[in-house]
Each structure stands twice: as structure tokens, then as C-alpha cells.
């Protein structure tokens, strides 16, 4: 079980970083340090959120939007704070964070649907 959890966390983190970096490219971010910040921001937020969601799902069979929405809002908030404090080319940090996470969630849903 432990190995599967770690695999899940790593896979989720890598996918999320790739998708959000792609979004940042489309958004027009060019600063390398900003890209590093996006990666680090996801390392900070993605694993705990995925772990909490997985634990609730496995232990209580409790999942869905009721869990995902508050967790995603927390992620958006933390990432928005990071971008606001440290990013150079993310001019609307809250909007960027919302859009990046919605984009990431949507792509993840599409991938899951096709698999």
C-alpha cells in the first residue's frame, strides 16, 4: 500500500507541474525563476492535498466535490500568495492561480476519462 501511495503522489505531482508549466507558457510567463516558483509551489501544495484526498477515499470511501473543492481552494490560495510575493511576471496572481488549477483539474479529468 505504501509504495502505491508514493507512486500516486509522484505521478500526480509530475502531471500537475507539467500541466501548470504548459499553462504558464500559454499565459506568457517567460522568467525562469517564475517557472521554478510554479514547480516549487506545486511541490508544496499538491502532495498534501492528494494524500488527504486519498486517505479519506481509502479509509472512509469519502470523496467527490465536497472534499476536492475546499482542498483545491486552499491550493489556489497558497499558490496565489506565493505568486504575489515572489513572482515577477505573474501580474494577477489570484486569477493565474485559479486558471492554472482549473486547467490542471480539467486536463486531469480528461486523461482519467480516456484511461
Amino acid at each position: 500500500m505504501f509504495l502505491e501511495i508514493i507512486q500516486l503522489l509522484l505521478l500526480s505531482l509530475i502531471l500537475t507541474i507539467l500541466i501548470e508549466v504548459l499553462f504558464a507558457i500559454c499565459y506568457g510567463v517567460r522568467d525562469k525563476k517564475d517557472y521554478l516558483l510554479i514547480c516549487l509551489g506545486n511541490v508544496l501544495t499538491n502532495p498534501p492535498v492528494v494524500l488527504i484526498h486519498t486517505w479519506l477515499l481509502v479509509t472512509f470511501s469519502f470523496g467527490g466535490l465536497l472534499i476536492k473543492l475546499p482542498l483545491e481552494l486552499l491550493v489556489i490560495g497558497i499558490e496565489a500568495l506565493l505568486y504575489r510575493k515572489y513572482a515577477k511576471q505573474v501580474f494577477h496572481p489570484v486569477l493565474f492561480s485559479i486558471m492554472a488549477n482549473v486547467f490542471s483539474y480539467f486536463i486531469g479529468w480528461v486523461i482519467n476519462w480516456f484511461l
Binding site: 500500500m1 505504501f2 502505491e4 508544496l44 494524500l51 477515499l57 470511501s61 467527490g64 515572489y86
Partner: protein, 269 residues
């Protein structure tokens, strides 16, 4: 004030109409289907099929793995072959049928808990039951002609899983014979009546020739080519809490490290 009174009047009339409608409606009796408290089932309810039968574990390694859901590799439990469990619903995904199962776990004190999750149907097989017997012998069945209607119950009527199963599934103090649909005559000349529905789903058989006899001859139908059971290996990391606890500690270390890294790289902004 006038508007409030008008709205209140409309609401009152509406509620009165509702009351009249529901009090004169026919009450429809339906068999209760208990839906699982499972996140995957809830989000895929329309794609799941009601099964309500028993299966037996038959995994290649001598045990079968039960997963959190058909889309996850996270396992809930490993069940040794020959273990019988209830399957409520099935779900088809990419050519594989997944079964939502409830596996009984007996504790040392005799109490029973259940591990619930999803198992691929290739890792188990359907327990031979009354429905399977009916399907296998459909051409030999005759219609019930009322052979049982005058029977006087002495103690209780036994309902068997199938003729010769040796397994009593229900006991009734009385039986309305009109619920018997078909009759099967076994090799020994005994008549058996198929009981599909009687105060809930039964799908089992009553020995019409000897309805209260306990020690009827047993001729079990045994599936061949079964994989022998092997006790699955358990490590502490297969438990319910420890894997998540260790993962949480690791994630916490990563969070702290990342936070410090961000602070160090970007502190000069």
C-alpha cells in the same frame, strides 16, 4: 402586508394540494436495494449493474486483491482463495468487469467486520446457487401445478440453495405456495420447487417431496480447476494507517524543505 398574506394563502393552498395528492396516491411496494456507501459507486451509479449474488475468491497467486476502486492501484485487502463474499454491483471498464464486494473478516472474539471494495471478476468466480441451478436445468423444469398447496407445516419449511447443495438458506414457519414458479425432479424422484421471491429475493429451492427434512442427500456441484489458497504476505506497510502516517511524515518533510528553499531563492525579491 397584503402581499405577505397573498403569498401565505398561495403556499397554504399548494401544501393542501400536495397533501391531497400524496394521501390518495397508491403506495408502491418495492424491494429495497441497498446501495453501497462507496465514492466510486456514487459517481458511477448509472453505469453499475445490480448483481446481489455470492462469489468465491480465486486469484492466480492463491489470493485476490480488493482495490479502492476500478481506477486505483491502492489495495484495500487481500482475500485468500475459497473465501466467499457478497457482490452487490458490477461495473465494466475497458473490457474488465469489476465487482463491488463485501468480504467478511472474522475476529478472534467471533465478531465479523467487512472489507469493502472492488475486485476484477477474473480473480473470483460466481458461487453456484439457486439461479445457476435453475439456468442449468431450465429445459427439465415443469410448471408448478399446486402440488404443495395442501401441505401442513409441522415445524418449519427448509429452503435450500439448490437441490443437493446441503446448504439451508432460509427457514419459514409457513409458506404461500403460489410463489413457487417451477418444479424440478431430481435423480431420486424428489420434487423441488423454485422460490424466486418471498418476502424479499430468495432464488432458492424447496424440497416439495420432503420440505422439512434436514438430512437430504448432498450432491454438491463443485467447480473444477480452482487455484489452491495461499495466505497473502502482510507487512506493516499493508495496514490501514501506517502507510498513510509514513507518507504524511515524508510529505511534511518535503513541505518544510520546499518552503525553506523558496524562502532562500526568492528572499531578495
Amino acid at each position: 402586508m397584503f402581499m405577505v398574506r397573498k403569498i401565505t394563502r398561495w403556499i397554504t393552498w399548494f401544501m393542501l394540494c400536495l397533501f391531497v395528492f400524496f394521501s390518495t396516491s397508491k403506495i408502491v411496494k418495492a424491494d429495497l436495494i441497498v446501495e453501497p456507501e462507496d465514492a466510486f459507486y456514487r459517481s458511477h451509479r448509472n453505469s453499475c449493474t445490480y448483481v446481489s449474488r455470492f462469489y468465491i475468491a480465486n486469484g492466480e497467486k492463491g489470493y485476490s486483491t480488493i482495490y479502492v476502486n476500478p481506477e486505483s492501484k491502492l489495495s484495500v485487502y487481500k482475500v485468500t482463495n475459497e473465501t466467499e463474499f457478497y457482490v452487490g454491483f458490477s461495473y465494466d471498464k475497458s473490457g474488465t468487469t469489476w465487482l463491488y464486494c463485501e468480504v467478511p473478516i472474522k475476529a478472534n472474539d467471533g465478531s465479523v467486520t467487512y472489507k469493502k471494495g472492488w475486485i476484477p471478476d477474473a480473480d473470483c468466480y460466481l458461487k453456484y446457487d439457486g439461479i445457476a441451478f435453475y439456468n442449468d436445468h431450465e429445459s427439465e423444469l415443469s410448471n408448478y401445478q399446486g402440488e404443495f398447496k395442501d401441505y401442513q407445516v409441522k415445524n418449519e419449511i427448509l429452503v435450500w440453495l439448490y437441490p443437493g447443495s446441503g446448504e439451508v438458506v432460509r427457514r419459514f414457519k409457513e409458506l404461500d405456495a403460489s410463489h413457487i414458479s417451477s418444479v424440478y425432479t431430481d435423480e431420486d424422484g424428489r420434487d423441488w420447487g423454485y422460490l424466486g421471491y418471498y418476502f424479499g429475493k430468495v432464488n432458492s429451492w424447496v424440497c416439495l417431496s420432503d420440505p422439512e427434512k434436514e438430512d437430504l442427500p448432498v450432491k454438491k456441484i463443485v467447480k473444477e480447476d480452482l487455484i489452491p489458497p495461499v495466505e497473502p504476505e502482510w507487512s506493516p506497510m499493508d495496514g490501514e494507517y501506517l502507510p498513510f502516517l509514513v507518507a504524511a511524515v515524508l510529505v511534511l518533510v518535503v513541505i518544510v524543505g520546499t518552503f525553506l528553499l523558496i524562502h532562500k531563492i526568492y528572499k531578495h525579491k
